[in-house]
């Protein structure tokens, strides 16, 4: 059961990197993107469905591995940077067409996306006991992979063709490596089986609904004209 829940945690984190990776990559690319309306329009319908993967991952951490939660407070600054950057990026998307000037929010989207990438570098490096400069470098690596993934996504969505699997897989590697490294430690710190049993019984019936909703998003918005809400 512990292994099952670790699998869920890993899937959610890896999924977050592979999916939200292209949103953040497109955000990072904004300052050098000519047609920003179309770029943001392309990721628009996916952002809400992508970012919840991390919120769900945090939920699994609290529910199934509460003893591992110290990982957050042990990397306090990185987590604060992650959250503030994430919030700023989201606000940029919601407000871009509506308040102040577009350019202002577009810069904030790019800065927020960069902040999220750097925070992940610091957080993952911090968990493995590496130093601050190494964390920054790791964050830059993550940003580079996300930029690659973001470009591929824009090509795929706006001009059609090719696959997202390769760059998506690459974008997930920076999360996969530490997850493999920490697997033993996390699994050993799972909640008692009474808690895990309850969680399993409650959540399992909804897994097909969750998967279905995600697939629906891709089928509905993978093609056709680019919407203009964000």
């Amino acid at each position: 059961m512990e292994i099952l829940w670790f699998g869920a945690l890993a899937l959610l984190v890896v999924g977050y990197f592979a999916l939200e990776g292209f949103d953040l990559g497109v955000g990072l690319l904004l300052p050098v993107t000519a047609d920003r309306d179309r770029a943001i329009g392309a990721i628009g319908p996916f952002v809400l469905a992508n970012e919840v993967w991390l919120i769900a991952a945090a939920g699994v951490l609290f529910g199934a591995f509460p003893a591992c939660e110290f990982a957050l407070s042990a990397n306090y600054t990185a987590v604060v940077l992650l959250l503030v950057s994430w919030v700023v990026r989201d606000a940029g998307l919601w407000f871009r067409r509506r308040l102040v000037t577009r350019a202002f929010w577009e810069w904030l989207i790019a800065l927020g996306s960069l902040g999220v990438c750097l925070a992940w570098g610091l957080l993952l490096a911090g968990l493995a006991g590496f130093s601050f400069p190494f964390g920054l470098l790791y964050g830059l690596l993550i940003a580079a992979l996300f930029v690659m993934h973001g470009r591929r996504f824009l090509d795929w969505r706006l001009t059609g063709g090719g696959t997202l699997l390769v760059t998506g897989g690459l974008a997930a590697v920076p999360a996969l490596v530490p997850l493999v490294g920490m697997a033993g430690g996390v699994i050993g710190n799972a909640a008692p089986s009474a808690t895990l049993t309850v969680l399993t019984f409650m959540v399992l019936p909804f897994v097909p609904v969750m998967a279905g909703a995600q697939i629906w998003v891709w089928r509905a918005f993978g093609k056709g004209p680019v919407p203009a809400y964000f």
């Binding site: 769900a56 939920g59 306090y76």
Partner: protein
Amino acid sequence: MDVLDLARLQFAVTGSLHFLFVVLTLGLAPLVAIMHTRYARTGTTLDERMTRFWGQIYVTNYALGIVTGIVMEFQFGLSWSGLTHYAGDVFGAPLAMETLIAFFLESTFLGLWIFGWHRLPKWLHVATIWLVTLTAYASAFWIMVANSFLQHPAGAVRDGDVLRLDDFGALLTNPSLSMALPHVLSAGLTVGGFVVMGASAYHLFRKTPDQELFSRSLRMGIWTSFIGTMMVVGFGFAQFGPVTSVQPGKFADRPLAAFGLGFMIMLGHLLQLVALLLVVVVKWAPRWRFLHPLILLVTPLPFAAAILGWIAREEGRQPWMIWERLKVADALTPGLTEAQITLSFAGFVGVLTLLAVADYLLISRIIRRGPDQIALGEKPAPAPALTF
């Protein structure tokens, strides 16, 4: 202020900001779903404009609900790891349920609703907003399960120096939950009803072109506020039984809690009276112009009542994090430094407050500009010729 005070203040401020947006989400979601269903049935322009106008307000409000919610979730891990250490095996379960089966779906379906205009089949599109409503209510349920556990740790047993889950059913039938959940949901309806009334009263008073749309909205708002206030007061008084039995002295010993409770009840009676009077004259209310400024004047009050309610519930819990089990001071992350908490306080409270103000400015601008300039559900511009 020391580290503990700052951590508490940070949670209180971000939590209050979060709830201001959540409570309107809870009230508006079913109303927008009803409007959209009506539009799907009649296909009239009036119903379409009404759905898109209130839908835009709903979505704009939701944006801040999400970003404040993100910060709430992670704060447990950041500054209250003592709570997780002591009771994570129990307390974490409802939080996990909230994120996995409620919020994950709510956010995904909301994306489908926002971007699904002119794209999803009509009735499937309507289904997404009902699913958003359902999952929003499910979120409220699980969060209230978690909160009720702090008020009254039902379903858990002590095992050494930590709590373990013993009876999941008891967690769900917690006496601290059974009346509080409907109280919160009806608070949502009250807030939603008053906001719909207030915005409609503004347009009716200004005699803007959309008189029919706002007459209908005003009536819908009046009925919603009437139902909402009746239920919020009813379930409010019904809370006293369970609260005094599981948390005796909750309001007697804490002046701030008693203050919150007293003013909430006062506002509750006032709002109930307003809604009752309006429902009597609901037929004429759209035409009676003298009413409209008065309605606008009371629109913020349900928000205030909702925050006062949380002050009562949470201040009354002090000094306990988990009633008679774990002190708030012992739930603080060990070794949390002043520099850390100051940093996160400035980041979270500063950024979220600015964004909340911006969001309310935006909502009031959407209301002022009226149903003519609504981005949500706009017909897409004809696709430009492909250029490479």
